[in-house]
Symmetry: C2
Subunit: 796 residues, 2 copies
């Protein structure tokens, strides 16, 4: 291998006419971008600018915008010439004006928003609406045609781009990575995605690393790296870098066109070799490194202070026009420097010879159906989940590993959709550890790197995506879903917090797309399986114990979030089926992987999961009477401990009437006006009573249950046990004891809260105390849990 | 520049005797590691192993451990030879047994834990306690001497290492980066840290990328990359890679010793050039790439299945000894392969000629004071924060930008501690944007890359650390604090979620270190300034609006978390001073950067902040009477809207008695038994009454206030307004309106909840409705807020 393998291509592929038109088109996009930031009216500058034409609040980001316009233009050129299927991912999403401008120029904008016509009146609306109350956001938000990436939080563009092209063999995602974003961790990891990209069945990502020079107030690290170092870095990452550097428009157009030609040709070759020649190894994909001035073509200076090619170009280069009316002229000169009269007719229409530069129909990047993935979405073919049921003849006597059973279902989902190639499973190296390994009977891990004879379940056409980067997993999956496919992310519960902020952004996207943008078709839900959870970190310890993702999730809009805590394998099967069928949600499933007692046969599981919450009559002894106490539980370990406590109490104080309630669908606890799954007050009161003590054993932080139920009638009698951040490397039962959620503490909570027990209470308390002492001594001595705990079975 | 610049050094620096001893020491560490995973008793194998000697639950991770032992050993060698000041950062923290073994061998373990003596009895305890209930965790947790990095959640080792060596000119942090961890985003970004490392004043990081080959069930990406690609990648990152590859111990010792010698020499040269020669540019630092088999020296196979050099070596290679007693012999053979009788005396002491290989005293990595940073911590020299007070003659008439005022204080903190060089400010390119730019009157941004004439505030010796990676900022700061220094992280509020999981891990570290490990001295608190907050994202939009970090924070132990919402500049000054003086906390300060009315003069601010919550008498009109309603607020924008609503109501319904309460210290709301800052019930009831309606305007998600107060007497009358996830690019006041937290909605809430208002209520409702309509029409037309809102002043 010869490194560094980089090049500035010296050919000049553009003839004079084409060059002139391309530059004109670019000027048009730049003109429209400036107009969006500044103007309320007078869009064509038909008369001199006046203060009343200018927005009172000047908002937006100019700095990155001309570069985005430049790249978009050159994508258009190759799309049109080669009839390419291409989408555009805008890493610097704050350059919203560029994408609005370009989709309006190509006509797709006006198709989605017929009110914003392709003429002067539409241009006026286009300008006015930008970053204006009641208008459109400043970023490349869901409102913008052709976008699957908002770009507000930096770091995820590249993973989104790869997610979009997996299983889309003809698609190319041109992904602009800003030099600010390039500094983030998630982006730095995502460069490795080519190690998972199979040119025989996947599309291509064409990254354009845009060295725009500056962030908000600071040079970017990448822009100050030399060419040698950049070339070395990206060669090491596995790319073939192509440099485009400069500031003079004409040579830059030539250089960019040459680089695009080379990149598209390289992609064609890679595809051909993989598809015809059967080349199975990882390819060296092209990457364009574009170095251009920040705020390119904008004011060079404003009142003696450098603006173009400096960080001051980041947002609005000329401000304070109301206090400095002389700056109006600066603005007008700037806009006129694009020579709008050579670009638009007097009616504000783009000149036909320029309009002809844009691709047509669905080849326009604003109209590419992949960027409105719901429009391409096909239902998964799903096997009957009931066929995977664990036989449960009597509750609590059978043991099973819930996720292992789920794995069998997932295997057959994979199998049933093999041809459609629209389902993948993602996770950071934990598919086997999380006991979903039945998947490997049907498919393998995606792997383009060299393989050794002893390797198992690695293949270029594998459909399980494992990289030890939760960020990359999440980004890939989001990209995959947003382009109309299906997937599941399995993760250690504690470490899903790594993608908290990515979850936020996806939830925000779904909220806006689902409730405010009719043309965005619903996409498949983002499904999380959180396993290896807080209660079972036997090999690890405190750092692996955190059930707080649920708390984080429920802060987002009820329209888009669902949380399930199936207590056993059959309920997990039902929940999985529900989640895989759903649309536009984020579904969080929390389920353990360890052998656990099974409670419900399939019929009971269906009934229970359909309601989301219910009384377990078979475990209760309050039939036909008011209970003395309600024992509620959510989550597999809390369910086990609750039932063990119930059995224990029924032995200790036989005439105590206990009602057992299990919660699968956590959002049923919330009021129905707050979440569509919520119970109404009558339903809630019927279950939880209005005045009896409720001992609630919950999988996560206990206060979440209070938060969800604080308005319920019986809230004052609700006593919640959960994880209270006490952990270490210890036995599973000791973890429960440390957090007071074990059977003995739960039984004790009941004793303390049922006043009528009288003398029985004192006896029961003593027995429980003795049990806890026995536990402590036993694990201190033997390092494992009491045999009666390990072997406990539901006795009734 | 010639790239790739990598080398496998061919010298053989070790003589026969030294080589033999080094290898013996390594075998001792490996022996002790296996013993920890397996044995309850019979530590020296004085008799044949029996099942009763073996732990019933076999827990731990063998795979990475022998490699860690190997690296630790070779660090010891150069430390001793060159009297180096070195600490060890264990990226693969699950290799806990290695660090326990080595600190025991060097004697530091027994000094911290005198019970675990350096003899057979101590060895038995050492083995038994590992991953055993009541013992020690399996990871490199706070319990382990010499550690500042738990390593359970992967991704942060390198940033921690750099944080540790900033301003520690003689320190070297040897940082082992596992090839699993290397796949994560945060780690991938942290390689750029050398671009911020000034060899003239900072120490050095010696990264050892450990290509251990496999993760849990999968090859690692880096291990399957070729040497050329690795060399190219790390040359591109700015390092000089040195390769050590193989599996035969003797040549590997020679190769590793040669690489360590070369690396240490290179570090010495870099230091010398920078310190004597005045070389001011970025250095090319050495990096060791160590490729060795996973589970090195462990069983090659177990029952025909490959273990060594494969992923099956990840955890416990031989299991099921109770069911397969023949495997006992395998285990015994494995342990005896280290020839313990050549390593330890019959009393279990390490042979003196081996013990002599470890450094002495504080040079031992387990005893290095930098790894118990609190022991080196010196108080910051703090100027009197009252000197920076904003003059507030009458509440609500002065305007100021709170963070700009704080910046002046921080500038002088920086100045006052210039000589000690123990304070840095961190943030992703937002120090100026967040209006802390007074800092640049005293210092600059750290910058080792090339500079241009137009650059401002960039210098190799700058003390403001900006990289567009929240992960790197957080990791650096944690490393800086854990080694006994002080700092502050300023961040856009929404994007602090990027480090949610890092916050978790630091909070867990503080909890354990502070409450369970007496020898760990308290360290300076981790201080967050969250600004550019949810209510003021004028240039951005929905993606930048998320106040949920507070919710995330309060899930952690009350012992370690503090949350402050100062409503103006003087309260922010007081809070900043408090946070900078505090120890072992994570302090979250949320404060806006925009011009806002100022409420309290410095005396009032001190009184108010000291209480954390209080009645603002000057704004209330319930003096000497029971109020009709309590209007509470927390956060700068909610405070403004609350006071505007109060003024409005006092005009509309003059005889309404309103009590205004402001909350600075959020945790005062919680019960005093749950948080040390919490009010007791009497205090709470005195403020919030037991039966009057309370309208609470809160900065973040409203349910958090319910969660904190659900047990309070008057909770049923508490009505909270906050951010309910409604956002876009719009005006500041419209953001409040969209979330019903504006003055008009708040006034309306009061009207709705005070029954006695009678006919006045209907009138007031109509006026309020009209106001909201006026607002909507005004912003739709003019794109900015009503003048009466923009210009509003407190009228009393």
């Amino acid at each position: 291998m010869s490194i560094p393998a980089y090049a500035t291509i010296e050919t000049r592929p553009l003839g004079g006419v084409e060059l002139g038109r391309l530059d004109a088109y670019w000027r048009a996009a730049n003109y429209l971008s400036v107009g969006q930031i500044y103007l309320l009216d007078n869009p064509l500058l038909a008369r001199s600018l006046e203060l009343k034409d200018v927005k009172p609040r000047l908002l937006g980001h100019w700095g990155t915008t001309p570069g985005l316009n430049f790249i978009y233009l050159h994508c258009n050129r190759v799309i049109q010439r080669d009839d390419l299927d291409m989408i555009f991912i805008t890493g610097p999403g704050h350059g919203g004006p560029a994408l609005v401008a370009n989709t309006w120029l190509e006509g797709s904008y006006s198709e989605f928003y017929p009110d914003v016509t392709p003429d002067a009146d539409g241009m006026r609306k286009l300008f006015r609406q930008f970053s204006f109350p009641g208008g459109i956001p400043s970023h490349v938000a869901p409102e913008i045609p052709g976008s699957i990436h908002e770009g507000g939080e930096l770091g995820y563009s590249l993973a989104h781009a790869f997610g979009a092209v997996f299983d889309n063999p003809e698609l190319i995602a041109c992904c602009v990575v800003g030099d600010g974003e390039a500094e983030t961790g998630p982006l730095a990891a995502a460069w490795h995605s080519t190690k998972f990209l199979n040119p025989a069945r996947d599309g291509a990502v064409l990254p354009v690393l845009h060295l725009n020079g500056y962030k908000i107030a600071n040079p970017s690290l990448f822009a100050r790296m030399g060419r040698d170092e950049l070339a070395s870095l990206f060669t090491g990452y596995g790319y073939e870098p192509l440099f485009v550097e400069g500031c003079e428009p004409e040579p830059m157009h030539q250089s960019m066109a040459a680089a695009m030609d080379a990149a598209v040709e390289r992609i064609r070759q890679i595809r051909q070799q993989a598809r015809d020649g059967g080349e199975r190894g990882r390819a060296r994909w092209p990457l364009i490194i574009l170095r251009s001035p920040k705020g390119w073509t904008g004011p060079k200076e404003v009142e003696g202070r450098k603006v173009e090619d400096f960080w001051r170009a980041h947002q609005v280069p000329i401000t304070g026009l109301d206090r400095h009316p002389e700056r109006l002229q600066l603005l007008e000169d700037w806009m006129l420097s694009y020579r709008p009269r050579e670009l638009f007719t007097e009616q504000g229409e783009l000149l036909p010879e320029l309009a002809a530069l844009a691709p047509a129909g669905e080849r326009r990047m604003g109209a590419n159906p992949h960027a409105n993935g719901g429009s391409l979405l096909r239902d998964l073919s799903l096997p009957d989940y009931r066929d995977y049921a664990v036989m449960v003849e009597e509750p609590g006597r059978t043991r099973a590993e819930a996720t292992r059973v789920m794995g069998q279902l997932l295997r057959d989902v994979m199998r049933a959709n093999r041809k459609r190639a629209n389902f993948r499973v993602f996770g950071p190296d934990e598919t086997s550890s999380n006991r979903l390994d039945a998947l490997f009977e049907e498919t393998a891990r995606t792997w383009m790197e060299p393989r050794l004879p002893e390797d198992e379940h690695l293949a270029p056409d594998g459909r399980v995506m494992e990289i030890l980067s939760e960020h990359t997993c999440q980004g890939w999956l989001e990209g995959y879903l947003l382009t109309g496919r299906h997937g599941l992310f399995s993760c250690y519960e504690a470490f899903i917090h790594i993608v908290d902020s990515m979850f936020n952004q996806h939830a925000k996207w779904l909220k806006v797309a689902g409730s405010e943008i009719p043309w965005r078709r619903p996409i498949a839900s983002l499904n999380y399986l959180l396993t290896s959870h807080v209660w079972r970190q036997d090999h690890n310890g405190f750092s692996h114990q955190d059930p707080g993702f649920i708390d984080h999730v429920v802060n987002k809009k009820a329209d888009v979030i669902r949380v399930y805590l199936p207590p056993d394998a059959n309920t997990l099967l039902h929940v999985t089926d529900t989640c895989l069928r759903s649309r536009n949600f984020i579904n969080v499933i929390v389920a353990g992987k360890q052998p656990q007692p099974q409670w419900l046969d399939m019929d009971a599981a269906i009934k229970h999961c359909s309601a989301g919450v219910g009384i377990w009559q078979w475990a209760s002894n309050d039939q036909g009477a008011e209970p003395d106490v309600v024992m509620a539980c959510a989550g597999d370990v809390p369910t086990l401990e609750t039932l063990a406590a119930v059995a224990y109490l029924r032995e200790l104080v036989p005439d105590l009437k206990i009602r057992v309630i299990n919660v699968v669908d956590l959002m049923t606890l919330q009021h129905h006006t707050e979440h569509p799954h919520g119970l109404n007050d009558r339903e809630f009161d019927t279950l939880f009573t209005t005045d009896k003590p409720v001992i609630f054993a919950y999988h996560g932080y206990p206060w979440l249950i209070h938060r969800l139920t604080y308005r319920r009638t019986n809230h004052a009698n609700l006593h919640v046990r959960g994880y209270k951040e006490e952990g270490t490397t210890t036995t599973p039962f000791d973890m429960a004891v440390r957090n007071d959620i074990d059977r003995f503490h739960l039984a004790s909570d009941v004793i303390d809260r049922v006043p009528r027990l009288g003398y029985l209470a004192a006896h029961a308390r003593q027995v429980i105390r003795d049990k806890l002492i026995e536990h402590r001594e036993y694990i201190r001595r033997y390092g494992q849990d009491l045999p009666e705990v390990l072997e406990w079975e539901w006795p009734y």
